[in-house]
């Protein structure tokens, strides 16, 4: 694993929805090695702990990364104050990302709410082989749909209240897709109950499934053992660490 820490310049910032911002960061040495599913660990000015945010886009040509985040508490509020030209303090790229496989013919990418951003690098990788299912509370919270379309992937949009796309949960279209039997893998990120349901569905159909988990972090690199999550491997239970062993896990390893 390779990572570095420094202050990097922000090339651009935009608001995607209420309290949701997209930031592009100039960090060639990080962009060079970053993988889909990895994250960056950002220090909001004046805070003690860093905040983990998934990588939403990687441009090796431009030497930039893009992140998309929602203002949740004081730390993300502070990060949201940054503007084009400002410096952002990052430790990156971190974690074990998604396993991509060139031989896969058809994959499903499922993002729930602020879990959609890490699906974008996968959509770019798989292109027309990907079907992206995105789920949001309602129309105001919908983000990144054009970005997904531009990758060539097929997109399916769901909202809880039906204010945009289909009304209902992302698991409905997933079940439909899995019925046909030609899906090689499911990749997903979002709220834990959603991940658990998706893992169960994929498991039942015996489809390879990777989930991206969240846990509160200290170091972000595997040293402090703060970000424990229960996993099983070869039948044995043990505490893995989301920052280093994850955030992406084979869904069969996770103990929900």
């Amino acid at each position: 694993m390779k990572y570095t820490q420094g202050k990097y310049q922000i090339a651009g910032k935009s608001a995607l929805a209420k309290d949701i911002y997209s930031i592009e960061i100039i960090c060639p040495e990080i962009a060079e090695i970053a993988q889909p599913g990895q994250f960056v660990h950002i220090l909001p000015a004046g805070f003690t702990l860093r905040r983990p945010i998934s990588i939403c886009d990687i441009s090796r040509e431009k030497g930039t990364l893009r992140i998309v985040f929602i203002v949740k508490g004081d730390g993300t509020k502070e990060i949201a104050k940054l503007n084009e030209g400002d410096l952002i303090d990052m430790l990156a790229p971190l974690g074990h990302g998604f396993t991509v496989n060139d031989s896969f013919k058809k994959v499903v990418l499922i993002g729930g709410g602020i879990g959609t951003p890490p699906m974008l690098p996968l959509a770019k990788y798989y292109g027309e082989k990907a079907i992206v299912i995105s789920g949001f509370r309602s129309a105001e919270a919908v983000i990144l749909q054009n970005d997904f379309k531009q990758t060539g992937a097929e997109t399916i949009l769901c909202t809880d209240d039906g204010s945009m796309g289909t009304k209902g949960f992302v698991t409905e279209p997933l079940k439909e897709l899995l019925k046909k039997g030609d899906i090689d893998a499911v990749y997903t990120c979002g709220p834990t109950p959603m991940l658990r349901n998706i893992a169960a569905i994929a498991n039942e159909k015996n489809v390879y499934c990777e989930v991206s988990l969240e846990e509160r972090m200290g170091c972000g690199i595997g040293a402090c053992l703060v970000c424990a999550c229960k996993t099983k491997k070869d039948g044995e239970e043990h505490f893995a660490h989301v920052c280093k062993n994850g955030p992406v896990f084979n869904s069969k390893e996770v103990i929900w």
Binding site: M1, K2, Y3, T4, Q5, L43, F47, T48, L49, R50, G75, L91, E215, R216, M217, G218, C219, G220, I221, G222, A223, C224, L225, V226, C227, A228, C229, H238, F239, K244
Partner: protein, 303 residues
């Protein structure tokens, strides 16, 4: 470039800066960022006799200028530490402090015996972990408890023995005196201050373990006070920690009486904190024309 070396209990440190137990693992992850040989020493994660999973997550919370943790001594157990981590660490050209944290005095003794047969430079006996039900802080809360476990571990090892003290007591200097009397070669302090945060929307403690240990800059003035009181009460060296984030903080802690310092939470804020602190100490010494860092230890002049 001032002379940064210090000697504690006969062990030479190239500089007085040591990542604290629990934040640095066994160094593998930070070695990606800087060579471990730059450090004065490394205090390893607290080790128990058998593997421990620690407490359920969440195990961390942010607080004003600080943090709470409730990791609860997750570690692979002493045998794996000795076979899989220690040999690698011993090649790093830095002093290794093996932090031990048994739930009973007997367990501490057993771990110390095993370490006694290794090349590890020093043993740091943690009698102050606030995040475990047994042992931990319970040992460190009374002079009798602290003295008793120190006495037993002292018999089990000829390695330099540092006893790590809890700040959650009425008189830390009394506890220090009682472990000194039982043969501790040094004391290190402070471990974390017991704290709690509540999520007012869910009405649940933020940490799954309800309470956790507070560290980071917020605790620095308490740590400086305790190091000062302790250094004035004992003759053995004091290793100071608690909230150190800059070279100036390290200088202040050493003036209070610390012969070396450990750095915990600051590493989360800035993974390069230990090396920046070493630089900062050097800069302070150079700009004040002080030849050796040894010349500032315990030099505060009280009013």
């Amino acid at each position: 470039m001032a002379d940064l070396s210090v000697n504690i209990c006969g062990v030479d440190f190239k500089n007085p800066v040591i990542p604290a137990s629990g934040v640095f693992g066994y160094g593998r992850e930070y070695e990606e960022l800087f060579p471990l040989s730059a450090l004065g020493g490394i205090a390893t994660k607290g080790t128990t006799i058998t593997k421990r999973n620690g407490n359920p997550a969440p195990r961390i919370a942010e607080t004003p200028s600080g943090m709470l943790n409730s990791v609860g001594l997750q570690n692979p157990g002493i045998d794996k530490f000795i076979s899989e981590e220690l040999p690698n660490l011993m090649t790093k050209d830095t002093v290794i402090l093996a932090n031990i944290a048994g739930s009973t005095a007997e367990e501490c003794v057993e771990i110390a015996k095993k370490l006694d047969e290794t090349d590890v430079h020093m043993i740091e006996l943690n009698i102050s972990c606030p995040n475990v039900k047994q042992g931990g802080m319970a040992f460190g809360a009374t002079c009798e408890g602290a003295a008793s476990v120190t006495r037993q571990v002292r018999k089990a090892t000829k390695k330099p023995l540092i006893v790590k003290l809890s700040p959650n007591v009425t008189s830390i200097s009394d506890i220090a005196k009682s472990v000194e009397a039982e043969g501790a070669d040094a004391v290190s302090l402070i471990n974390t201050l017991l704290g709690m945060r509540i999520d007012i929307n869910t009405r649940r403690p933020v940490l799954r373990n309800n309470m956790g240990g507070m560290s980071g800059p917020a605790v620095f003035p308490v740590a400086v006070r305790m190091v000062w009181q302790t250094a004035n009460a004992v003759k053995i060296p004091v290793i100071g920690m608690g909230g150190i984030a800059t070279g100036e903080d390290a200088v202040e802690m050493m003036m209070a009486g610390a012969s070396a310092v450990q750095v915990g939470a600051a590493i989360f804020t800035d993974p390069f904190a230990p090396v920046k602190i070493i630089d900062g100490i050097n800069q302070y010494l150079d700009s004040h024309n002080i030849a050796s860092v040894k010349d500032i230890i315990g030099t505060v002049e009280p009013w």
